[in-house]
């Protein structure tokens, strides 16, 4: 049992942190009241440096990919990291990225579709992938801080992926748990910074115990979700991935509510990035049919013999 990263993981994550300090990764208001900021330069920087392939590097592994996905999700910009770093290297290394993932119905609005070069379909009994051409996609407006799109046609050149659908679903759970936990962490950090600075009644908001306890509780949930996610990326117990995703989905209701409460009216504006994290988390709550479905999957996997 060792919670510290190994030497290669530590170097990898510290280079990532340096990249995350760059201007391309920072907060910028999007044009024309748009809810998301797609940062192509940051995406290119990650891709050119091979970050999306870390899962197959022996000394880095899926644990490093999950830690990276968590960190990148705490940025205010939209980056397609989860599918590219956790699904692609394992199941479809040749697939061009960014990748949009269809979990349920191909007719639903799908995140990242307007920027995606390929699409991955996670069916309950089969996994398939297709290269996208721009004509096949229609961008849709959305409150969620992701680029969202509709697939105009299902007539794509679908190629079967030879992988156990259940294993792919679990990998996707790990990816979603990492992304959602990272989004909540981004929001928490912003709110904590705000309540340290903002004075009302002659004292910092953050000195009120009513806020302190709820933020401490949120921080505890986020930490727990983070470690559950990293553990699940090591693939030890059969129910770990479902537990990590179900846990953070269930915890998110209260956390998101509190973050917006404590940011007050500033958090209602598009001039502050809070919505980038909380509205992403709101969409991810419903991923793979939401908390109850994933928690029921925990039971099915843990007590499969019953």
């Amino acid at each position: 049992m060792r919670f510290n990263p190994n030497e290669d993981q530590a170097t990898f994550l510290s280079v990532l942190e340096q990249m995350m300090e760059s201007e391309e990764a920072g907060w910028r208001q999007a044009h024309e009241w748009a809810r998301f900021d797609w940062s192509a330069p940051f995406d290119t920087m990650m891709e050119e440096n091979g970050f999306f392939d870390c899962a197959v590097e022996e000394t880095l592994g899926l644990v490093a990919a999950a830690a990276m996905t968590y960190r990148v999700a705490s940025l205010p910009i939209a980056v397609e990291c989860a599918a590219s770093s956790i699904l692609r290297p394992q199941y479809a290394p040749e697939l061009p990225r960014p990748i949009a993932v269809i979990e349920r119905h191909a007719e639903d609005p799908i995140r990242f579709l307007p920027m995606a070069k390929s699409v991955l379909f996670l069916g309950s009994d089969r996994i398939s992938a297709a290269i996208l051409n721009p004509d096949a996609v229609e961008p849709v407006e959305s409150l969620f801080a992701y680029p969202m799109g509709l697939l105009k046609t299902r007539e794509l050149d679908w190629q079967p992926i030879d992988a156990d659908p259940d294993a792919v679903h679990d990998s996707w759970r790990i990816a979603l748990a990492a992304e959602m936990t990272g989004a909540l962490k981004g929001g928490l950090d912003a709110v904590v910074a705000h309540v340290r600075e903002r004075h009302q009644f002659g004292r910092p908001l953050g000195s009120f115990q009513a806020l302190q306890h709820r933020l401490a509780s949120a921080a505890t949930k986020i930490e727990a979700a983070y470690w559950l996610t990293l553990k699940s990326a090591q693939r030890i117990g059969p129910a770990d991935a479902a537990a990590a995703l179900g846990y953070v989905q269930e915890a998110s209701t209260k956390v998101i509510y509190d973050l917006h409460q404590f940011m007050g009216a500033m958090g209602l504006t598009l001039e502050h990035p809070l919505h980038r994290w909380t509205y992403r988390a709101r969409l991810l709550r419903s991923s793979l049919s939401g908390a109850d479905a994933n928690l029921a999957a925990v039971s099915a996997k843990r007590w499969s013999a019953l």
């Binding site: 644990v63 830690a67 309540v195 910092p204 953050g206 727990a224 553990k231 179900g246 099915a300 007590w303």
Partner: protein, 384 residues
């Protein structure tokens, strides 16, 4: 990062399970019915702990000099998980192993070490912890029990309350003030007091959480030699901060909670009620809570294993453990309410009976949240 057990860890855990299977008597359920502080379980521990000691399973993480084997912190923790999940056959002696012994090793005089540590390592010592007072619970630093210097002795007067194991204890790890109350944390010292000293009176308080867990202690002109003081006058706070960091992650309640949950699920399956989606989602939620608590506890243990000070990590672990314990109890109460009366499901009863204490003992959950806010989130202290 590696979140799996090593082969050595697994072998060690199997060894403990085998030992428990062999050494716990058929009537263990009866003996442990009223909890670790009960007379029955305390007396049992005085037989059981020497056997553990003989097998090298009582204080394996202690230094060789004090009867241990210098085993890694993780082994000590695996031992704690298995013991707690088995109903804590060490009774009150888990405290000696976890923190009283190590505290004495670090801060005791050679004479104090010789006098107390070998007895603990042999499995024959019962201690209690004289901390809380009627007017000093969460605000421990406001305690009033007074130790007045009188030549080469101290005269101790005051009351302690909520003290676990006091009726059966041979020794008390006592906090008392050697200066005026205004001194707060700075005026407190620790005394190692034999419970047989004249002037100590113990009253058991009937409780919801088992026998022997809650007492009141009255100290009336209790005379102890200066040599009973642990550390210097005014040093108590820094010493117990070290001790309590160990204690806060000390009881691996999630391990028992997971096993109780597993039992509940098996019972539901036997009744044909485990196909229901709601039941499955709630069982999964309770399990995820337990595993979340486990990860936060392990993270604190990992820091300890690397010799780092545990800070807010211990508080986070405690908060998560409270939620996990209650999630399992609530699951059982919702879907197997009939198993919480009568004697057919002793594990459900024991868990329900003791889960309520989780958020209160060893620093209330709200105190932990305050520590997280200050030390993890760096939020400003509340105005007074």
């Amino acid at each position: 990062m590696d979140f799996d057990w090593t082969e050595e860890d697994r072998t060690y855990r199997a060894r403990i399970r085998n030992f428990l299977e062999r050494e716990l008597p058929p009537n263990w359920v009866e003996i442990s019915r009223h909890g670790p502080g009960s007379r029955e379980q305390t007396e049992f521990s005085l037989d059981f702990c020497p056997k553990l000691a003989e097998a090298g399973l009582l204080v394996p993480h202690w230094p060789v000099e004090w009867g241990g084997a210098n085993r890694p912190a993780w082994e000590h923790f695996i031992l704690g998980e298995e013991m707690w999940a088995a109903g804590e056959p060490r009774g009150a002696q888990y405290m000696n192993v976890n923190w009283i012994g190590p505290t004495l090793m670090r801060f005791g005089t050679p004479e104090q070490k010789r006098r107390y540590i070998p007895e603990m390592a042999a499995g024959k010592a019962i201690w209690c912890q004289g901390f809380s007072e009627p007017n000093a619970g969460s605000d421990l630093a406001s305690l009033r029990t007074h130790a007045e210097r009188d030549g080469d002795a101290y005269i101790i007067n005051g009351n302690k309350i909520w003290t676990s194991y006091a009726a059966m204890a041979q020794h008390c790890f006592l906090l008392a003030r050697t200066t005026g109350e205004a001194m707060g944390k700075a005026g407190i010292a620790i005394f190692l007091v034999p419970m047989s000293t004249p002037g100590i009176e113990v009253r058991a308080i009937p409780s919801l959480i088992g026998h022997g867990d809650i007492h009141e202690m009255f100290f009336t002109n209790v005379r102890v030699p200066v040599s009973a003081r642990l550390g210097e006058e005014g040093e108590a706070w820094s010493i117990i901060s070290y001790s309590l960091a160990n204690e806060r992650v000390g009881i691996p309640r999630y391990e028992l909670a997971v096993r109780v949950l597993g039992g509940m699920v098996r019972e539901l399956a036997a009744r044909g009620a485990f196909e229901d989606h709601v039941v499955r989602a709630r069982a999964g939620s309770a399990l995820a809570s337990c595993e979340a608590a486990r990860m936060l506890v392990y993270r604190a243990v990992d820091k300890r294993a690397r010799g780092e000070m545990i800070g807010a990590e211990a508080s986070m672990a405690r908060v998560a453990v409270v939620e996990a314990d209650h999630a399992v109890t609530d699951f059982g109460l919702d879907f197997l309410p009939d198993t919480f009366s009568g004697r057919a499901f002793p594990a459900h009863l024991a868990h329900h009976e003791r889960a309520i204490v989780t958020g209160i003992a060893a620093g209330a959950a709200e105190i932990q949240l305050g520590l997280i806010a200050r030390h993890w989130l760096d939020l400003p202290r509340e105005a007074t």
